[in-house]
């Protein structure tokens, strides 16, 4: 199997607060890797370092064999074109309609004809079951719809690697399950590799091939969801008991 993401000894601190401390991680091609951890343990920081929205203090990040930390802005943008990133709040451009949001990366990076662009937009909207939202503004969409459109915008360039930052946060259990199933479905049909940061155990159970648990800036545990949730390790038992209770509360 090819290694798509290879992170070596990554460290990041904000002032005296060390968020990531020598984190190393490998994600194989086509794999869905879930990153767990308590709030403030650096899960989102890890994702943002991978796309250089944040500059790490030390370490190396290889994406498809390219060390993204050594790239010039132009080279970095070329790598970013082949990545998808779903933000926690979907981050749709407020001033643009759904169509313009989806069109934006296509116009900037590809030489499609208007007809080809329109076909692509309709095709991704069909994938996320929101064809009717094409001319709506983001303010007219619900939280779940925004996530779906955000997902559509991320996959419209057919990225090889997708990064998800809390894809189901703030959604009700039914929508959360729908989004998780959609992520899995898209990952299979588009043969993408994914790194998913989440608190949502239900989402992780649906998506994850493998998961890691970050604690105190290090990768403390690694394994399948079943291995982690059934582990006798006190930290994991404590962590997942909280997650399970929260999950049950949400389901109720």
């Amino acid at each position: 199997m090819n290694i798509v993401v290879d992170i070596k000894n990554l460290s990041k601190a904000f002032g005296s607060h060390i968020v990531l401390d020598n984190v190393s991680l490998k994600v194989e091609e086509g794999e869905n890797m879930v990153v767990f951890g308590q709030s403030g343990t650096g899960k989102s920081v890890l994702l943002k370092c991978m796309v250089r929205l944040l500059e790490p203090d030390s370490g190396e990040i290889y994406i498809e064999g390219i060390n993204v930390l050594n790239l010039s802005p132009k080279e970095l943008n070329n790598v970013r074109k082949h990545l998808g990133f779903l933000f926690q709040g979907a981050a749709l451009y407020d001033s643009m309609s759904v169509r313009e949001n989806l069109e934006f990366p296509l116009i900037r990076h590809f030489n499609f004809t208007p007809k080809e662009r329109e076909d692509k937009i309709k095709s991704v909207l069909e994938k996320v079951s929101l064809e009717e939202a094409i001319d709506k503004m983001p303010s007219e969409l619900s939280g779940g719809m925004k996530k779906r459109i955000g997902l559509a915008r991320s996959i419209i360039t057919e990225p090889k690697l997708m990064l998800y930052d809390e894809p189901t946060t703030g959604l009700d259990p039914i929508t959360s399950k729908e989004i998780s199933s959609l992520i899995l479905e898209l990952q299979k049909s588009l043969k993408m590799t994914s790194v998913v940061v989440t608190h949502d155990l239900l989402c992780a159970e649906i998506i994850a091939d493998r998961a890691i648990v970050l604690n105190n800036g290090i990768v403390q545990h690694e394994g399948t969801i079943t291995e982690l949730t059934t582990s006798s390790d006190p930290f994991l038992r404590n962590f997942f008991s909280h997650e399970i209770v929260e999950d049950q509360n949400r389901r109720n």
């Binding site: 943008n77 970013r80 709040g89 407020d94 360039t157």
Partner: protein, 268 residues
């Protein structure tokens, strides 16, 4: 004892404000440096600049029209009794014209523009920052500084001089109306008097400095919005401080530019 207790927090508050002020100056300096570096790098985003110029011009047109008309009208009515006292009513259109062209037109338009546009840019970019839209743009391989900031600064820099010329014209209409009301002067005499008094050299420094004012409005609004933090509170703060800082900077730069103009062209 009580005084010494209260003076310590006051001092630290003062120190904090001073640090924030100096940080802002340094930040603005770096921001404008980044702007000048980016303007020569393609893509040039001409379509975005045109779009912003359209939006900013249309957004500001009603308020500057009303302001220009009232300024022309009120200045003329205020100056009329003074001119009568000196027996110089015939010079009323000319003196009003010079003050509008050289100072009032450019500065009033710039201040109105700052209030309307700088806060708008600050709020818009601030909201994009806190909702991660700017990050999303960056991750998609688009340079957000170029797309969002450079285009807005360019639009502000080039639309303000156009608005100023328009405001000067509208102010003359207001002034003419006032002259007709208080002095019953014909429009031909009014025009003759203005043309005889206001020279081309009066208009050039006034219009040229509006490029600087436009740049100030664009850069301050963009800087405040682009660097906004702390959620919605930060967005509100960005919008408010953008207006205060840009208005203050317009007045300070006006003072400097008037001095520079008189030094470079003492005959003007």
């Amino acid at each position: 004892m009580k005084n010494s207790k209260t003076s310590i927090p006051k001092a630290s508050k003062m120190e904090k404000r001073m640090t924030e002020f100096l940080e802002m100056i340094a930040g603005l300096w770096q921001f404008q440096w980044q702007f000048f570096k980016q303007i020569f790098v393609p893509p040039y985003e001409i379509e975005q600049i045109r779009k912003h110029m359209d939006e900013l011009g249309i957004k500001t047109l009603p308020i500057v029209s009303v302001t220009g008309f009232i300024i022309g009208l009120v200045i003329t009515m205020q100056m009329h009794p003074v001119m009568v006292r000196f027996g110089a009513e015939a010079f009323l259109p000319g003196s009003v014209g010079i003050s509008i062209v050289r100072e009032l037109g450019p500065v009033i338009t710039a201040l109105i523009f700052a209030g309307r546009v700088s806060s708008g840019i600050g709020a818009e970019l601030g909201s994009m920052r806190v909702t991660e839209q700017i990050d999303a743009m960056e991750v998609s391989g688009v340079n957000p500084f170029k797309y969002l900031v450079v285009t807005r600064i360019f639009a502000c820099t080039f639309i303000l001089p156009i608005l100023t010329v328009y405001v000067i014209f509208i102010a003359f209409v207001g002034s003419f109306l006032a002259v007709v009301l208080v002095q019953n002067m014909s429009y031909i005499y009014f025009l003759d008097s203005v043309v005889a008094s206001v020279e081309f050299g009066d208009a050039i420094p006034g219009i040229l400095k509006t490029f600087v004012f436009g740049f100030i409005v664009g850069i301050v609004g963009s800087y405040k919005g682009y660097t906004a933090t702390n959620g919605t509170e930060g967005v509100g703060k960005a919008a408010t401080t953008a207006v205060v800082v840009s208005s203050l900077m317009i007045l300070i730069f006006d003072m400097v530019l008037v001095k520079v103009t008189l030094w470079l062209w003492p005959t003007i």
